[in-house]
């Protein structure tokens, strides 16, 4: 299938302005009827663009790497552990953290729509919501991982979590080798968004720019 956004950008050049007009019409009607306040819409957009994003998740992961008690709490009851961490915004129920180990690699998908721990990691990338990812990750996760440049040992067990209800999953990736003694903040710089979805691995120290 032609990738969704490419279809719009390349084949229907006028569609962006058509969409701008259509969405403006919906917003105008709902504002006039008292359902929404445009200032609120501005703030929602701004919050997603500047306040909620993968950096919040990276801080949680880095804390779990340096603090065994926090890690235990996170794996036991993630929503509560994130609330006690306190340095990221409010994260709701029902967050579940799953740990990668040398024997087990976790990967998260929503085959039915786009469920994602949005209040922790921000809005999902286009590929997470796309048909190729949703269709194949439950059946051929190694093939999907290869497209992300991730090649796991053949013996590593792969566990795919399909987010079919209002539970949300955060992958706790393995701490890279060669980071002994690193400060939490520096470790957070190694945690990529994709490593918390399970389609990537954390940046290794030697890969840092």
């Amino acid at each position: 299938m032609v990738e969704e956004n490419q279809a719009e950008h390349h084949h229907h050049g006028s569609e962006l302005s058509e969409m701008t007009l259509r969405v403006r019409a919906l917003e105008t009607i709902l504002t006039e009827k008292g359902y929404v306040d445009p200032a609120v819409l501005d703030r929602i957009v701004e919050t997603y663009e500047t306040k909620i994003g993968p950096r919040n998740g990276a801080r949680i992961v880095a804390r779990a790497w340096v603090d065994p008690d926090f890690k235990r709490a996170l794996l036991a009851e993630a929503t509560k552990a994130v609330a006690t961490f306190g340095q990221v915004g409010p994260v709701g129920d029902h967050l579940i953290a799953v740990e990668n180990t040398p024997r087990l690699h976790n990967m998260v998908v929503c085959t039915l729509c786009s469920c994602y721990p949005t209040d922790l990691l921000g809005l999902p990338p286009v590929w997470y919501k796309s048909a190729p990812y949703r269709s194949r990750s439950v059946k051929d996760p190694r093939g999907v991982l290869a497209e992300f440049g991730v090649h796991l040992p053949a013996a590593t067990e792969i566990r795919v979590w399909d987010s079919t209800a209002e539970t949300r999953f955060l992958v706790l990736p393995m701490r890279p080798a060669g980071t002994d003694g690193w400060a939490e903040e520096k470790l957070a710089g190694l945690v990529t968004r994709d490593s918390m979805i399970g389609t990537g691995l954390p940046t290794r120290p030697g890969e840092l720019p």
Partner: protein, 219 residues
Amino acid sequence: MNGVHDMGGMDGFGKVEPEANEPVFHAPWEGRVMALMRAMGAAGAWNLDMFRDAREHQPAAYYLMSSYYKSWAKSIETLMLGRGIASGDEIEAGHARTGLAAANDKMLEPAGVRSALKRGTYARPARASARFAIGSRVSVKNMHPATHTRLPRYARGHIGTVEGIHGCHVFPDSSARGLGEDPQWLYTVVFDGRELWGADADPTLRVSIEAFEPYLESA
């Protein structure tokens, strides 16, 4: 419903193509669509399950060929029409012809945005004890409702193991139809890859779904 949205295990969609340095929104209207959806949810105009149901009922070709937020905009329009919030004439004109009968006191205020973007809880008090326990072998029902469900097709008819119990949650199959929350026990059910995909499946693969109790039977 057995819609094209239920994609798990389908072939033919091509490669996953991650975009480097992807922006949060690819055009300003996408952000407005996301914000409208969140604000209307907070105002109680419809629930999450109704929104998903509206999107799933889009014609299959439209669903596949529309970008995510274009499809969302269509869902918002569908719900505005279907729930009597606006008329087709109004959407055509881009303006309200009639206002609300009463002021909407649930309208989201700027100060409430940050907490509105925190996920709400869908857990509800249990009305009965859980039928299954951790470790229970369960068979997923062979069911094909024409209405909204969160049971993916690829799991139906297969046998798995209960690995987690998350309490009772709002039952989307009921909530999407405006029939109330009808809370049901929610489980993580894990399947061996070969149980789902046959002998050729990756032998190291296990897949789990989040399954509501009415989807399951004792195996």
